[in-house]
Symmetry: D3
């Protein structure tokens, strides 16, 4: 049995959930994504992906989706009025409170589905904190891992379609076409950065950046080639991959 | 113009929002509501009420709804596995971060629409903090104020239908009938408490309580008389009243 | 047996106090109260009321008064040089430390007697925190509840004699006549605010305010009609009412 | 002009206080003091000394006494039910809030008059914090500095009359004879400790201790020789010395 | 000019450092590394690598090494007595304090050289915090990036020589041969984990782990093939690579 | 057996350490010391003294030195670019984390060897916190206690050679002659301060100060008479005295 966690009634929790149950927490963000995309992008993608994953593998896996966190740590966009950002301490406090609450249920596996790249390092830190404090098994997945945090990107963007770029724009066009204004988009690829061997997105040396460090428009990548069709393909591929990963989560026991 | 805040694009914020704009933040909760109601009650009611208010008065008033906070401070239900509760510090940290973010937009009025009575005192504290720190005008509304925090209640519940009681159950039956199991509900009114003159819900002396202090079932009130029809009436009355209040918010200037 | 808590000797604590004992903590404030009243108003009123309550009902009830907290959260008056204000976190930290200390004694009932309206919401939050963390039974009383926080007010002040108004000034004139300069007082009632249905003191919508939001003089109400005689009546009425309430506290058990 | 700070009215603050004004904050404690003394000892001594100092030198020096803090950091006595102790963070938060408030007045000199030895190191730390954050000139005085923190002690107690010993008991007998029960007192001097050259009270090596580390009675010294007469002498000597010191505070300018 | 930061005198700071200067902060750890390696491994490697990098490129680049932090966040090893671990908040507080201090010098580039994989995510978070709060350019390098955090590993360890494995052991044998006891080492590779496609070290799904989750010995990898010769090769390669990276840091300007 | 703590291997900790073992934590600082001394002074002196003490008494006493903390609370020098200062909360957090870690080993005695006077009060506070929270026996020693914190000073400096003065300069000349530039040093003794009876270094009234309150050069004392020979004498005397003290630590049991 699977579904939305919040639809359960209080007395059902100890009956329905077991230590095999997986709780899935999608994490969105409300932040500027350039002139072609709304503030909601990461929120919508995290939420829709979470629902699609439950849909796709909920029959085989006991998985319950928690309500999507709409806001998270977006301080690389603080310069842009409209962005709603939690401090890193606040995000961690929210996760610790959720972790403590989850640990009081029979479920012992918590999966964070992170829609916003800027959260990745803090969420990774949280994985260990929640394991240590509450003995949870904790996992971190991404609808699509941005290159700046270790994912891949299309060659045309030189590995730098990391915020409002081709793929993210495409997925959002598939999910919410009415909220995309592709005509306002331009190529915003920091070409010179790609010449570096070490200090670049995905390089051996990471660096602190704000989204307007590269260009005052604040998006990074080339959304001009985005399309709803590509978005559909990417979205379904992500759901399939995440569903497969969810089975590994179900069977996970630290290789023991 | 009005709508969902997250549908705005970054560069639209300084154009669309003005100092007259009202930002509306519904605040829900994920917490036990007895055997007849799901964990989602406060989350759904806050969210649906917020949307209905924007719908009802968005033409006359410049109002933008922020994504509903799904979880908040529910520690009176910590004893009940399934409840997801933020600490008071975490809730305040979230509100401070949101307030700081809002203050960076042109909008200067922030309305909290609180779906969970247990938040009321902390949110009231936040009103002043956000006014002081960020010079915002801040307001707190409730889809229906529970008696324990100053609202009214039907006589049959002796003023104590404060958690999963007749009115809340009715409203939820109207909004999500498929998630209510009224057959599991009983009368859970702490009759003896009503004999007090001072120390009671709505009395001159307030007191610290957990939801299982009165009865181990953890709901307080008498939901047996709930109905979808009553819920519909209450919901529409609330939306009408809140819309009226929103006009006062729009015109508010401390009586100056 | 009743009295001042601090007069007890260490080894007497486990002998004299029992789980029926009530510990009473008056909470004052040091803050501007307009040109006619000193900074001490809330401090003196809380302290004197606490002592009078112990005097009035100490024979019947086992009640021990802790030293009055002289300063608390007065940040609505931060604009006024002279005000000494604790942050909300500091106030809560003080209350948590006191709660933890009290919980180490045999006494299990802690009553906060709040002389300063601006503390009310934070103290209400503390009631639950201390109940949850330390299993104390916790209560909150007021020498007189200001309308902005749910109390009543005389009609002439339109329900807004909330800071330095007629009643508070009268009580202080009774307690410390030498420190009142009534000639400096004027009517400072935000008349226009009373026209609101929702957004007003005691209305369904609360709002964040600083004491100079209404008038730069920073007091709210009409103290011109204050008198020592009225103060005497109000003070004795409050003590009688609080003493009556204290009996309900003694017998309180959540209506079980 | 001098007096009690809280008796000033808000609008008087910028008129009465100047940058030469000294604000005096007595700091007490509520903590076990053995079977012969009540919990109030440090609270009473700090408060009475503060008042006596203002009385003694208030004509010559512009000095205003803030309400005495009744509770502070007494965690060396946490083992003893009845003690009310603030955490070191809470004490610092209180002092930072008071310092920030004081810095908003014209006064620039803040004197802490510490009645409880256990606060000394944290208060010393606060001196610098408040100077750095708020540009205050800050000072720390003691009604009598206990040997464990650098003061002197009578030979008979081997330099260890540091908590409830002869001198403190005597001063309290002078101030509140009705609350002393000298018959319950015994000699509680950790004689062996005095044999150390380095690791002892007042030695070159300080050490962490709780008041029951030496003896389960929790007082340290020999109060058996205490008398009200000695207390009177000590109290007046302290007031005279502090008044003299207050003149140096008035004239202080870092030796420039 | 380059060298050890601490050897500079106060008045030299504004003269010697410029906005081109790079400050290098090696970060070590004191934590269990299995029975064959001492607690010092990460401390020594970070410190020696830092010194070697300054040596290698200090003539060409203006680089000043801060004293190596000896302890950091090692809570995955908290189960093992001897480990000294800072909480994530403490580590961040230390870095914020250092960042604030560095920002007060003319230098604007701060490089963290991280010797302990367990710090990586928190340090990555710090990069952005320090950039945002103090406008520093911030960078993160590793003497060798462990596979669990995105680096490569030899095939024989199946990509899992991440703590006390072949490479780390070899480097330490080169640096401190007298403190390695290779006879106590065994193969501790969680083979089954390598069968996963997603949930594994370096996979698309990361997970929270403690070092004894895989095997109670607490090291992960196969140190049996370690040698001082391999260590020498690896160390020199790392220093060469880091020195090259340091030039990119010197020239870095966000691809502008 | 004695030595460097970090050279121990994880599994050795429960075998080598016992409840008699003393862990020694030297605490340095990186802060301005005038034009004649480098930032490293307190770091080097603490570290070298720690090593010399282990050398001197390690045969008789079971003593293990933890890696020296290089930075600590130096905020009296925040005005001077180059100083690296931890906030008092950060320093306490570091000490609490170390204390918690140490308490997990068999060792129960922790000695702080403090090279920087500005830490003294906070470290003294920590002694009690660590004793209370972790039941450790805690001690605080100084390579030489500065007069401002209770130590003695040569007469020529009027008891005020407290930062970069004759003795400290001499000791550093002995330890690192190549980093001292005595020609830049002048007499910087706040002579007028010595005329005070109460408010002065070592007087009955302590005061908050920053190192540039007395003179903009920021050092206090008269280093012009410093010499390597004097430093050698002082250093050896300190080591001898500390070694003697360490024996008292070994035998310490609160005089029981």
């Amino acid at each position: 049995m699977s579904g939305m966690y919040e639809d359960l009634k209080g007395p059902e929790i100890p009956e329905v959930l077991t230590k095999e149950s997986i709780l899935l927490l999608p994490i969105g963000a409300i932040e500027q994504h350039g002139p072609h995309l709304p503030l909601s992008v990461d929120h919508i993608i995290a939420d829709e992906t979470g629902r699609a994953v439950v849909e796709a593998c909920g029959d085989e896996i006991d998985i319950w989706m928690l309500p999507t966190l709409s806001v998270s740590k977006s301080n690389e966009h603080n310069w842009s009025s409209g962005t709603i950002s939690l401090g890193y301490q606040t995000l961690m406090a929210v996760l610790e409170d959720i972790g403590r609450s989850v640990a009081a249920t029979p479920a012992k596996k918590l999966v964070l589905l992170n829609g916003h790249g800027g959260n990745t390092t803090m969420l990774s830190t949280a994985l260990r904190e929640l394991r240590l404090k509450y003995s949870l098994q904790t996992f971190l997945m991404h609808p699509s891992l941005p290159p700046a945090y270790g994912g891949e990107s299309n060659e045309d963007e030189l590995g730098m379609g990391i915020h409002g770029g081709r793929d993210e724009t495409s997925v959002f066009m598939f999910l919410r076409p009415e909220h995309v204004d592709l005509e306002k988009a331009n190529r915003r690829v920091p070409e010179k950065l790609a010449e570096n061997t070490h200090v670049k997105f995905g390089g051996s040396v990471s660096f602190g950046w704000l989204s307007n460090d590269f260009h005052e428009d604040g998006y990074i990548g080339d959304p001009t080639g985005a399309s709803s069709e590509l978005g559909e393909t990417l979205f379904h591929a992500a759901v399939a991959s995440l569903s497969e990963a969810m089975k590994e989560v179900r069977d996970f026991d630290f290789g023991r």
